[in-house]
């Protein structure tokens, strides 16, 4: 079965893609929704424009759909993008990186069901520490691209998700109930390298913006 994946460029969609490929599925296209609303409940926003580079180094075609990010209207835009993927790439299903969010997962399930597409959520209900461990074990190079919860601040931007990061997240989980994999929206991430990439990416011209405990990283990748 040929599949498309809702791809944000972050760790969850990256790991979901990795698992699907490991199971032998052919990934025909990436589908990325670029939202103008940085507070979207549905779509990841930091560095989303850089998915083009990730698609290039993976050699997978990319469908980009822009959305204003208005609640429910953004779902129409998502459906348009999925319909396009079904038509152009003859996919039989969609993969998502959903872990805990019933809000996100159920909306994608409804769209796929309407379009008679399978919906795969290979990270669904996965323990968040296990998820971080899987990224490290499978040699994903992931950085933090946005934070939005106390006590995370601008110092977290650009940090690598490595063993030290997991140790720190465990402390933050115990003390502040920060979800270790950011499932509560505490942080967003970006994959710079993994075994699916023909070459690693690096950030250039980093720019940070935000205030207090809400910060995001922008810039180019090469």
């Amino acid at each position: 079965m040929k599949l498309g994946i809702l791809f944000s460029g972050g760790k969850d969609s990256g790991l979901a893609l990795f698992l699907a490929k490991k199971q032998g599925y052919k990934i025909s296209c990436l589908i990325s929704i670029v939202s103008e609303n940085k507070y979207s409940y549905m779509f990841h926003t930091p560095l989303i424009q850089r998915v083009e580079k990730q698609a290039e180094v993976m050699g997978i075609p990319l469908i980009i759909k822009k959305t204003k990010g208005e609640k429910e209207k953004e779902l129409k835009d998502l459906e348009i993008a999925i319909r396009k993927a079904k038509k152009e790439y003859k996919i039989g299903g969609i993969i998502t990186g959903a872990v805990e969010s019933v809000y996100q997962a159920s909306r994608v399930q409804k769209i796929c069901n309407k379009l008679n597409l399978e919906c795969f959520n290979p990270l669904w209900q996965k323990d968040q520490f296990e998820l971080l461990d899987d990224l490290i074990k499978n040699k994903f190079e992931v950085i933090v691209a946005g934070v939005s919860a106390y006590p995370l601040d601008e110092n977290f931007l650009g940090r690598k998700v490595d063993k030290n990061f997991v140790v720190e997240m465990r402390k933050l989980w115990e003390r502040f109930k920060i979800n270790p994999a950011g499932e509560g929206g505490e942080f967003e991430s970006f994959v710079l390298n993994c075994s699916m990439f023909k070459r690693g990416l690096k950030m250039i011209g980093k720019e940070i913006s935000g205030r207090e405990n809400s910060w995001s990283l922008e810039g180019d990748v090469e």
Binding site: G93, L117, E118, N121, P122, Q125, K126
Partner: protein, 179 residues
Amino acid sequence: MILIIDTCKERLHYFEFVKPVEDVLNKQGMGFWTKHYLNVSDKDLIKAKKIIICGTSLQDNQFVEDIDYFSWLKNFEKPVLGICAGMQIIGLVFGGRIKKETEIGFFKEKFEKRFLGLNGGLEVYHLHNNFIDFFKLSDFEIFSGNKIPQAVRHKKIYGVLFHPEVRNKELILDFVKNG
């Protein structure tokens, strides 16, 4: 040891419908092994103390075509818990018929009587296009659902239409400990 039965046609669905059930048992240190329904043998059925039949995706109805693989359920005397597709399988084996009704996401269900530790009004996670009309199966007692049976029992065979591995993990543990 508990036998977990995978009902998914697509192997990638294992991570979504089977692994979360395995994780619930793993966290409690409970012994289990997992097999796809196409590979369940008589030896497995003899060895299992209890069986959990997992669900599958909205678009996957292959188990309906393969229902004969579950004919052992008819005379099985040890506890079984069917989740979503697993519940539909139980209903089909006992002569029930499939009806269409899609429910996706969180829903509030009321448990009139205690069912595997659940009681009263509760939020559950649904993901189904079909259900079985258990109202016509007199062997089964219905614990929740006026129009769509959500939780049923016949002797030691339990079925739930919702996915307890998402929001009602305690139901799985109650089945394993007390079912």
